[in-house]
Subunit: 345 residues, 4 copies
């Protein structure tokens, strides 16, 4: 590791690429293949997805999570419709208005304590269905694991998807950290997506050891009909597609996705365990996945970030966020804990 590249707890996308994935990229660099996805690597990666999610799954690789989210939603909506999501959802808070720009739709954010929305809250937005003066709810977008590090139980997801489908709505899942959720729930990937009624999934790779690339996975083929045009017009069609495809192929081989996520989750759990006893520090969210949220006195933040980089999540309440990643080590955690003990003492 070069100086200045010290592992911190800022984000799982501050990490680099898992060696197995990088190796796959290097291996794929042989001769010419047809551009834009009509190549054997893309075919083979697509096959992996179908093995996991079912034969009639449609998979499209794109560049990044924002691309996956906004194009998914575009595929499900017309501009006069609306998207219901948590106020803390990445699409609402962290994409600079990309969903509105790409789709023309209104977002209907729901205030939550823990990043998870409920059927009751969703229901409040359905009072004006059919009334042309109001943007018409069409999509519910969930995040799994949520931006607050919590995880929807399968029955929670299913309750929402059932309600959605009864009311003519689709459910999109922002799965930037879907692997962390599956590990947390001790399930496979299908059990918490397709099997509980999700219609379209943004399948995340970058936060789980990939260099670049996400996958849009449709569990309803009719919804995927126009997606190749949407992706191209959305500037998310990679010419040298093979280099995204082989990364996903590697991630889905020998459960690498699970091992990476397991490691990150374990490290978050370790961090939580170790800091629980530290005075002046309160864990503010259940640590379901690979994020630890903690309230600490403002004056202690700067001494900490000098040694380990991380973000303040909520300045007013002085809540910080610590993310672990596939390459976080026990030493990283124990070093950070030691510093926390010193500073907060």
């Amino acid at each position: 590791m070069k100086p200045g590249n010290k592992r911190g707890f800022a984000s799982d996308n501050n990490a680099g690429v898992h060696p197995k994935i990088l190796e796959a990229v290097v291996q794929a660099n042989q001769g010419h293949v047809v551009a834009y996805g009509d190549d054997p690597h893309t075919e083979s990666a697509t096959r992996k997805f179908k093995e996991i999610f079912g034969e009639d799954t449609e998979v499209f690789f794109v560049y990044n999570g924002t691309g996956a989210n906004v194009l998914s939603i575009q595929a499900l909506t017309d501009s006069f419709q609306a998207v219901i999501c948590a106020e803390t959802a990445h699409i609402n808070e962290d994409e600079c208005g990309a969903p509105e720009k790409f789709t023309g739709c209104k977002l209907l954010p729901i205030s939550t304590g823990n990043g998870k929305i409920t059927v009751d809250q969703i229901g409040l937005h359905l009072h004006a269905l059919g009334n042309e003066h109001h943007a018409q709810p069409r999509v519910i977008s969930l995040t799994q694991a949520t931006e607050l590090g919590t995880v929807y139980r399968p029955q929670e997801t299913e309750e929402i998807t059932r309600f959605a489908h009864q009311n003519g709505l689709f459910v999109h899942l922002d799965g930037a950290r879907i692997a962390n959720a599956a590990v947390s729930l001790k399930t496979g990937l299908r059990e918490i997506t397709r099997d509980v009624g999700i219609d379209v999934l943004s399948f995340g790779g970058t936060k789980n050891g990939i260099m670049f690339g996400e996958a849009v996975v449709f569990f309803n083929r009719a919804l995927a009909r126009d997606f190749k045009f949407i992706r191209k017009q959305g500037a998310q069609l990679a010419s040298k597609m093979r280099f995204i495809a082989v990364q996903f192929e590697a991630l889905l081989t020998d459960d690498l996705w699970r091992r990476n996520a397991q490691l990150a989750n374990n490290m978050a759990a370790l961090l939580e365990r170790e800091v629980r006893s530290i005075p002046h520090l309160t864990i503010t969210q259940p640590v379901d996945a690979n994020a630890v949220f903690a309230a600490i006195p403002p004056r202690h933040i700067q001494p900490l970030t000098q040694e380990y980089f991380f973000y303040v999540w909520d300045e007013e309440q002085s809540i910080v966020r610590w993310m672990t990643s596939f390459d976080t080590t026990q030493e990283d955690i124990m070093g950070f804990v030691a510093l926390l003990r010193r500073v907060l003492a």
Copy 2:
């Protein structure tokens, strides 16, 4: 080279990654760096651009050429404005309407014989400046080298940029193959862009040996003011930015960009030389860069594509396009020429 990965002449983006560039990617995979471009690799790559194009240049990395083009144009326009370009321009023909979708602007295509537009043709579109019933021309978008493998001479570009600026228009350059143009003109990169009045450049990497990534280069800082927001909202901000940045750093080190482009251009020149004498084959465009356009009888096309993949450019006139790339070899050319001789005999 694996079977099925045979080098053909379909496109310079069917090639893989130059070994030096791949090596740089592998080297960059060390530890954590801040995501989204606030890292030393991005700083260093940006420095390279400034050395070439001038200190007051602003550089932004994006994922691909369509992204570079449409976001550049968005930075220069309001939705009620129009973009003048060649009918054959990538933005007009090959981006599935992305410019219209991202910017709301009308494209005003100009019919050309050789992919290059002229001041006289541009002038015909300026008859209604200030008239609110007509979309207002604001940007002229040129491609260099053009989609037809031709190259604007510096004085041709300058005539257009001077005319543009006199009329309150900006000039965008789609430089997907800017390196091939510089090699063709025996100049540096700055002499055919900034020095001849270009305002914003889509600097191409993928067609010249990069895995993924293009750069948007502003020569007018005021125009770059909002670009970081435009890039993020346009879903073109890479989280693990270092892996784009190091590729450009490698490409701009020791003139690798030039060597790659020189090789591709040389191979196209060789191909042209060899096929000129073949009967029933007519070269239809000057071979300025790395493309050879040829008219051949329709019945001969299929026997050729069985062995070397390439595209039919114009079915009605039976014109085919052969692209060379940084990894095309003399053997590739001579093998293809031998086949051509056999088939067209």
Copy 3:
């Protein structure tokens, strides 16, 4: 008539409101009715449309022709699709890029001599159906009468609509001057729209004696499904809808639409007849409806516009356009002809 309000030949929308229509507006100003179209006037005007075009017609009133055109097209398209039209089409030339802004679609303009496009020309744009790199043609938009004062014969329209439907395209008709076309063809309104395969019609009122308002008429109910939302989001839903509705009711009562258009067409025919013998003046288009296009020497234009306001259509070729309207009188024509004789002598 107040001084300064002299009738000229600039445009049929420089005229005022037909007295019968104004009277209907005045009569409708009684008490309260529900806003936004849920009122008896709107019901009654809708009935008139159904009597003419068939019971299963869907009618929506909007504010103006641009609104009718762009929202019609929005109802038929997704953003990655394209609209084929004449280069001279109002949607292409005179709406400041509104179609691109509202729909995100690319317009594919066809160069014509007389404003009318043909199946052969349309066919040239269908070469890349299904190819995601190209905006996908979805709508053919015709204008009737055209912007050049010509009229599609029913069999011409039908040939286009048949070709369109065979290729999975819809046909929109910009009927800003549909009444003038029907009069010219000595048919009813249905025979040249629904009966020859048109899918959606922008039914013009303003150029035929109405104060404000156009109607979007769907002959395919499925296409109208979301239009009420599209209209509202497009800012084209009038709150005091009754005042648009009663104007259309009056226009469609006792064939007022026909009488107005007949008068305008007659006056154009008279003008053409009278000027044919004037030296240095060439009629450049068939006078099918209420427009006369003539080439006259540039130096004569200013003396003419001093007395009668009209527009130069093509400065390079010195072609002017003279429009007649429902209120043009024989005296207007003869006065203008006398002036023409004097000036061009």
Copy 4:
């Protein structure tokens, strides 16, 4: 009044046109004038606005309130920016997502009890200025009188505009009922708009006796620079503009705007006074302008709407809204009050 046109309390846009305004429309129907606003009526109406708001005011007539609001905001923003407004704002609740569609911007709604937002609430949305991951607040949009019938005091407005300008934001005012606010505050129109720092005003006419038409009024000329293009591309440029212009001329002559609004406000005040003593009825908002909000038991609503049409504002809390208009009479109020007494007894 025809049967079925009984005056109710549903909305001030269920009313018709004030006789003086209708008379102006009839008077304007003389001969030809140049279309699209280059006519003496538009000039004269514009003059009236300048007399009221200052010589350097720029005025543009559009069709309706949604058009005025969304195009105003478009003139002030880029797509990556955001608009702060009350949750109950018309732009947020009642325009079917038109602001998002026209501008691409995110709306940042603020929950309020009375429709009025405060500097403290606005401040909470400014935490990420300059951070490209978040849509950048650019406009604060206020409504005056608010959708809840309340009115910002001049010092309240000024506090917001001062804060906005200090933070690089503009303030838009949705003045659909600006006349009612001025009457309520016993001021002129300028004192509660330009003089307290508003940048752009949607000046409402339709809810105060006009047939159709609103005015966009810029107090900062630089912001108006491109508005003529924005209006045209937004499908809000009326061809027979004179018929909008003369209505505003009439409305601004002899203080007709004030008399109409005064009457409506007086009737709301009368209604409030009369119903205060009725049991099982609670007034829920201050009656500052021409709206009365009241909580009444759900079972009483249907018997009331059978005789007088009005809307339920909040089903859960069983709150109804009664709007008065320029043509509401004392008899209307007393008749309704008598019914209320009977039903709620």
